[in-house]
Structure formats: C-alpha cells, structure tokens
C-alpha cells in the first residue's frame, strides 16, 4: 500500500462517497420536520456501519484476488502456511483497512454533517462486532466461490452488499418489506443490528434479544462459510486448481 497510493485511496473511496451522498440526502429530508428528521439520521448512522461491514467483506475478497492476480498463490500454498493462517491473514488485512475507512467516515459524518454516530453510546460496540463477524463470513463465502469458480467469479462478490442492503433494513425498517422478504431478513444478522439502532433512537433499549440472535446467527454463518472454504480448498488440492489458478475454473 505504501508503494502504491491508488491502493490507499481505494480504502476510502466508496464509503466516503456513500457518506457524502447520504449526508446530503438526510440534510434535504431533514428539512421536512422533526419526526422525519430523527428517522433520516438513523440512515446516516446505518450507512457508516453498513460501509464498515461491506469493507470487511470486500477487503477479504480483494486481498485474495491480489494473490491470484500476482500469481503468488503457489508460493503461499507450497509454504508451511496453514489454510487457517492464510485466512487469518486475509481477515487481519481487511480489519486494518476497514478500521481506517471507519475512522474516516466517522470524522466526515461529524465534520461535514454534524452527525456523531457515538450518539448510540457503547451499543455501537456489539453492533460493530456482529457486523464484523458477518462481514468476515461473507468475505470467506465469496472468497470460497472465487476459489471454486475462478477469478471471474469476483463479479459475484462486489454486488453482495448492495443486494443484501435490500433485506437487512439499512435504509428502512424490515416491516416495510413484504412478508416473504421479511423471512429472508430474519435469517440475516445485520437485520437485527439495524432494527436495534432504530429501537435505540426511539428510546427503546430492550435490544439484547435482538443482539443475541444476531451474534449467534453471525457465528453460524462464520462457521459454515469457513467449512465451505475448507471444502473448496481440499477439492482444489485433488483437481490441481491451485496450481493453475490463472485460468478459468468453470
């Protein structure tokens, strides 16, 4: 990253763009009156947290793709490095870049729009933790998909945050969705986080049931996606995909 400023800028670009765009949207909608104003300020806080989760997922995927593009795959997998150590390396890289992006978006929200996400108090910690675990799970899932299908599968990974945002209540309460889609929401840990944010803003602090459900669900996703990655790894050992990973696998 030190040698290539473009990579450093990439950490901030999309999340800062989201904050600026939604910051101005909330300012505009805030002019419609008090009740609407507190609803829309939830949106900006949710955008910051959703950006964090997306960054975690895409950070893991990007680091994995870097190894493929640099044709360095064989060097890592032919070394004493274990699979779980390799994945931990991807996760740690993503944590660092996501933490930097998170700080940048916090500061931007405060300085430009006067919005301080710390109004959520210490509740922000479990929110971030749950979103972190789920972001890692999604990162592992899409990385496993790329590992199985080849580098072109990266295009399945980029839209995941956007698609998932429809179901998890980033911009609106889950109750707005049709019943069938609400069932999908209930299976996704971030839904409980964003519903909890809305509850806190409305003065209802009885969110521990939601957070427990979200935490357990996120752990399940993490465990399952880790197993999926391992399965793909052992399959690729048999098929020789690791050794010829620059070609399309499908």
């Amino acid at each position: 990253m030190r040698s290539n400023p473009v990579r450093f800028i990439n950490i901030f670009t999309w999340t800062i763009f989201d904050i600026i765009q939604w910051g101005f949207i909330t300012k505009y909608l805030g002019g419609f009156g008090g009740a609407v104003f507190s609803a829309v300020t939830v949106i900006l806080g949710s955008i910051v947290l959703w950006g964090f989760m997306s960054r975690i997922q895409q950070g893991i995927m990007s680091s994995f793709l870097e190894d493929i593009w640099s044709q360095n795959f064989i060097n890592f997998f032919a070394s004493p490095l274990k699979v779980k150590e390799y994945l931990l390396g991807l996760i740690l890289t993503s944590v660092v870049t996501s933490a930097i992006a998170l700080m940048a978006t916090f500061l931007l929200a405060i300085l430009v729009f006067g919005y301080n996400i710390l109004v959520l108090g210490l509740y922000i910690l479990p929110f971030l933790f749950i979103l972190f675990i789920f972001g890692v799970a999604m990162g592992l899932f899409i990385t496993g998909l790329i590992f199985r299908l080849g580098p072109s599968a990266e295009w399945l990974g980029w839209p995941i945050p956007m698609i998932m945002s429809i179901f998890v209540g980033v911009f609106y309460p889950i109750s707005v969705l049709p019943h069938a889609l609400q069932m999908v929401s209930k299976a996704l840990p971030p839904s409980y986080v964003f519903e909890s944010i809305r509850m806190i803003i409305a003065g209802n602090y009885n969110i521990w049931g939601n957070l427990s459900a979200a935490f357990l669900l996120a752990l399940v996703y993490l465990f399952v996606t880790y197993l999926i990655f391992l399965r793909v790894y052992y399959r690729n050992l048999k098929t020789g995909a690791i050794t010829r990973f620059n070609a399309e696998a499908v």
């Binding site: 040698s3 290539n4 640099s70 044709q71 360095n72 064989i74 060097n75 890592f76 997998f77 032919a78 070394s79 004493p80 490095l81 274990k82 052992y234 050992l237 048999k238 098929t239 020789g240 690791i242 050794t243």
Partner: protein, 246 residues
C-alpha cells in the same frame, strides 16, 4: 536414509493418467534431474511433492515422514523455485524476502537476508520492486527465496528457463556451490540437456507419466546408443516405447 522417497505415485484426471506408478528416491547432496517432454508429468510430480496437488495413490515420504500427515513440518525444511511461480511484483526484493522469511520461520532473518542479497548479487536492487526486475534478477531472487530457510530438499522447476547462457551458468554455479556446502538434495527439471549433464548426478526420464529411463547423465545416452542426452531426450519424446521400460 533418503531425503525423499516416492513410492508408486499416481495422479489421474478423468480418464487421463498424468503420473503413473512413479517411484524414486533422492539422497543427501544429490542433484537429480527429472526430464521429459511437455506434458510428461514433471510439474505434476513436483506439485504433489509440494503438497499442492493430492496424489490419487502412492506415498511421498520426506525426511522419513509421510507428507500427507506431516505437511507443515516437512514444508518448513524444503523449498522450491519455479519459473511460473512469481513472487509479488509490488513488493521490493527486501520486502519479498522478509515476507517469505517469516512464512518459513527463518531465525535471524535480517542477517540471513543480508547474506542472501550479497550471495545472489541483489544488494543494489534490494529496494526495487520485483515487477521491475529483469529475468536474471528475478531468477536470482527466486533462488534466494528458495534457500532462505536452509532447506534440506529443494525443488527447481526449470530455474534457468528463458535466461541467457551467462546468467544460466551463474545460477547453476550458485546452486551447485550451495549443494556442495550444505548437502541439500535437489530435484531439478529442465529442457536444457547441457545444463542437466553439467549439474545432475542422476537423471530420470518421464514419458506419459512413467519413468522409462534413469541413470548417470554423462553415460546414459551412450548406453542407449545415442550421441548425447539431447538425442536421447528426442527419442524419449517421440518414440518412448522403443526404449527399455523400467
């Protein structure tokens, strides 16, 4: 005790047999050439020894231990360099050596890197990115990475491919000197028969996944009535069945 012992190794892809019942061993300080036409199974064999390709059947024992059950421990004491395995282009020589030094658990890493840069004449390029290096410089970097953990077994898959004769000779001398000092075992694949005659103590010819010949590279050609190793190689590539089956 052999450093590496391969027994009845097989690898199949669908109906195609890439490696078929291959057995060999390599002793300490021995440089063994693994030769054969394109598609003979050389790289497949090397990939199985590196643990990045699972055999269909057979055993790979390195340092007296099964690779299947002691992979991490074994890989700690071996290394490889291959023309198709690039080191990260965005990292400098120094950064690359540090990363791989940590991966292999190299002790006194800074001193080790300093010596490697000197031995492989890479000192003046140490802050250059790997992507900006010439083929010769890249080959030297790959080799520096291949010996940085003082391996007891090194796999070299065409280490001098696409290098000019002067650089190739220099690389060969570096490797030979290293093997003489450390008694490391080396498995070397190459299409350059003169190079093989110069460095290898023994050669094995692979064709259609099987070892069909093995012996002393300086005398093997004459044993089969061929002028030199290159002529023997051509016969192996074109008419393998005309030669004695092992």
């Amino acid at each position: 005790m052999a450093v590496i012992e391969i027994k009845n190794l097989c690898k199949n892809y669908d109906n195609f047999s890439a490696v078929s019942d291959v057995s060999f061993s390599i002793q300490e300080g021995e440089i063994v050439g693994l030769l054969g036409p394109n598609g003979a199974g050389k790289t497949t064999t090397i990939n199985m020894i590196l643990g990045i390709l699972e055999p269909a059947s057979g055993e790979i024992n390195v340092f007296g231990k099964s690779l299947k059950h002691h992979r991490t421990e074994i890989l700690q004491k071996m290394n490889f360099a291959a023309v198709y395995a690039h080191l990260p282009a965005n990292l400098t020589i120094l950064q690359n050596l540090k990363v791989f030094g940590h991966l292999y658990g190299v002790k006194n890493l800074n001193d080790k890197i300093k010596n490697l840069l000197k031995d492989f004449d890479l000192e003046k390029f140490k802050n250059h990115k790997a992507g900006s290096l010439s083929s010769g410089e890249l080959s030297r970097l790959n080799l520096a990475k291949a010996i940085m953990n003082d391996p007891q077994l090194i796999l070299l898959d065409e280490p001098t491919a696409s290098l000019d004769p002067s650089i190739s000779k220099h690389i060969r001398e570096l490797i030979k000197g290293y093997v003489e000092r450390t008694k490391t075992a080396v498995l070397w694949t190459s299409h350059n028969m003169k190079e093989i005659e110069e460095v290898c103590d023994r050669v094995m010819f692979l064709a259609h996944g099987k070892i069909i010949l093995s012996g002393n590279p300086k005398t093997l050609a004459k044993e089969y009535g061929k002028k030199d190793l290159e002529e023997l190689f051509i016969t192996v590539a074109r008419e393998p069945l005309s030669l004695k089956e092992e």
